[in-house]
Symmetry: C2
Subunit: 340 residues, 2 copies
DNA sequence: GCGCCACGTCCTTGATCGTTGCCATCCACC
DNA sequence: GGTGGATGGCAACGATCAAGGACGTGGCGC
């Protein structure tokens, strides 16, 4: 490992000159610059980011935390963000927090120890005083993905769930559905809450209502969706359509229907807030909202890097206040919904 | 940020004593230890890993690189490895290389600059002299995931593809299939090559053969699988069963069949080397091999940490030679295959 | 015209970031 | 006096940055 000293020796200049050349932090004569660049090439020098980070007290590292990297939504986010940030010269720290907020906070701490410049967080939203806990651990600019934490001082990118809800409800209502059930997620996760209240509102606008016995809120796992759908479909009065909020629930719903020898859309229509690669492989193919994961990730990366590059100091303009950007989903009509 | 000096001042001892207490690198009296620990708690000290890494020339960081984090296989690996390594106090650097070996090598370099202790790599296996290129960039212990690079000086965990092939072939042959087609992946990726040659061998053992016109090798994308299956199924002589090597190909195969108004297993049986969450949501549910991703990841993490902890120096035993560990898959019989 | 000072440019010396490890020192005890 | 455990001082690790030196140039006063 060649160090800056080796370069200085090879170039016959001081380490400061080498540093100034590389970082363009001070004027260097053309002659000296040429000698330095030649020496850099000759000894195969690449700056040691560890030493630089120590000296500067900051790094070009971004921490990414998601509850479960196995979910297509999180994986898509991770892929796009990593790509976008790598293009801007950032490397990525990663943690799949397994829906465990203690782990999440601990990993944020570890990342902070490594002086990450920023964080991208799909938050677990678990535990009392979650927002406050988070604030106690995050010491750098952060961007929240998918889930809003009201009042938190971070940029946030999210789906336009109210719009998505209107799209879904309009589609179902146009098909004549009135007995609509919804399986939402854990209360307190805004993406789920917004989808639920959006559906409620959209139904109200259409003169309909989401019956309490047709409303399920719980953790969004496949198993619980299986039970929820089995329960819904064994009632004397059954829904004619079921809305789910993510891909795991779609899997669960399909399994539940099959176990009861029901079929979508013959016995019940199925529609989801979340599209995924496999939607098209199901039979029926699942009508679903496609969330703009690429758009979200791009915006998140852009907002984060904007904040990281914000000039500091006396004369500098104040950074923008926390922003919330929403992206419109697209309804992909496939074959899992049919007219009543 | 409290530093070790703050602790030393608060405890009334030297920084050396604080360091010795924390690292247990030298004997410290019970009295001093108590003072140090109290001071650590009082000032809220946490060691600065950057400074430590600089000083020691190594870190507790592991780099993970996969071609595409969106694939369930890679995501499962990432999740398990991150979890296992976090438990041992390692943090994770992450890169989704987008099936681009230049990016892969560049990211390995960046990770090396950050003095990662080890690498976990699901290699792209792309480009001429791939193994040699890799060797030129990897400067720390590494473990290869899923894809073997023959002769490379790294531990490797992989599926037992020969066994998997025998299981698949036995299942199909028992159902009376003789006209079997296989869609493999890019040549040069051992997991694909082994699956193909394993199927060939297993068929040969059963007195059958894989017809050249029923053998497709290409990059393992969904789109190419669509075309391959459309092609296979538009022949005058059609296969009675199709074997695919991964989940993207299953999606493609399902789409192709639907586009031609065929149905599995009525018109053709379908079986896959790779199980995934969504296999059960498909109709038919896909009969597939479940690869032991958890086992693979656990072994990979264990082998890597074993090497990282290997004592160095004169008297120490030599580290083990590169090891290749294979994990047996399980055949999950679902409803996508039927007797001829 | 000469000498001095001021100034700008380019470069170097030396301190520093927080940590660890080598070595010297100190004290108590045999 | 030797031994050995406990502790502190100091120099690194590789980089950046503040301060100041060297040097050439130009303006100005005598």
């Amino acid at each position: 490992m060649a160090t800056i000293k080796d370069v200085a020796r090879a170039a016959g200049v001081s380490v400061t000159t080498v540093s100034a050349t590389i970082n363009m932090s001070a004027p260097v004569s053309a002659e000296a610059r040429a000698k330095v660049l030649a020496a850099v090439a000759a000894v195969g020098y690449s700056p040691n980011p560890i030493a630089r980070n120590l000296r500067l007290g900051k790094s070009r590292l971004i921490g990414l935390l998601v509850p479960d990297i196995s979910s297509p939504y999180a994986a898509g986010m991770a892929r796009s963000m990593q790509s976008a940030l790598a293009d801007k010269g950032y490397s990525m720290f990663f943690s799949s927090t397994q829906e465990d907020s203690a782990r999440e906070l601990a990993d944020i701490d570890r990342m902070s120890d490594h002086m990450v410049a920023g964080l991208a967080l799909l938050p677990t939203c678990l535990g009392a005083d979650y927002a406050q806990n988070l604030a106690g651990h995050i010491t750098c600019p952060a961007v929240l993905l998918d889930r809003v934490i009201p009042g938190a001082p971070y940029d946030c990118v999210a789906d336009d769930n109210a719009l998505g809800a209107r799209m879904i409800v309009r589609h179902l209502v146009q098909l004549g559905h009135r007995d609509i059930a919804m399986i939402a997620g854990r209360v307190g996760i805004t993406s789920s809450d917004e989808r639920l209240s959006g559906v409620r509102q959209a139904l109200a606008d259409a003169g309909l209502a989401l019956a309490p016995e047709f409303t399920v809120t719980h953790h969004q796992s496949e198993e619980l969706a299986v039970r929820a759908v089995q329960d819904l479909m064994s009632r004397s009065r059954r829904p004619s359509a079921i809305i789910t909020i993510n891909s795991a629930q779609v899997r669960g719903a399909m399994r539940a229907l099959r176990s009861m020898h029901f079929r979508a859309p013959d016995d019940v229509s199925l529609i989801a807030f979340d599209n995924f690669h496999y939607s098209a492989g199901f039979d029926p193919e699942i009508t679903s909202l496609s969330q703009d994961v690429g758009g979200l990730s791009g915006a998140a990366a852009a907002m984060l890097t904007e904040r990281l590059g914000w000039p500091k100091g006396e004369g500098a303009a104040a950074p923008p206040p926390p922003r919330l950007v929403r992206f419109a989903p697209t309804l992909i009509v496939r074959s899992s919904c049919r007219p009543v």
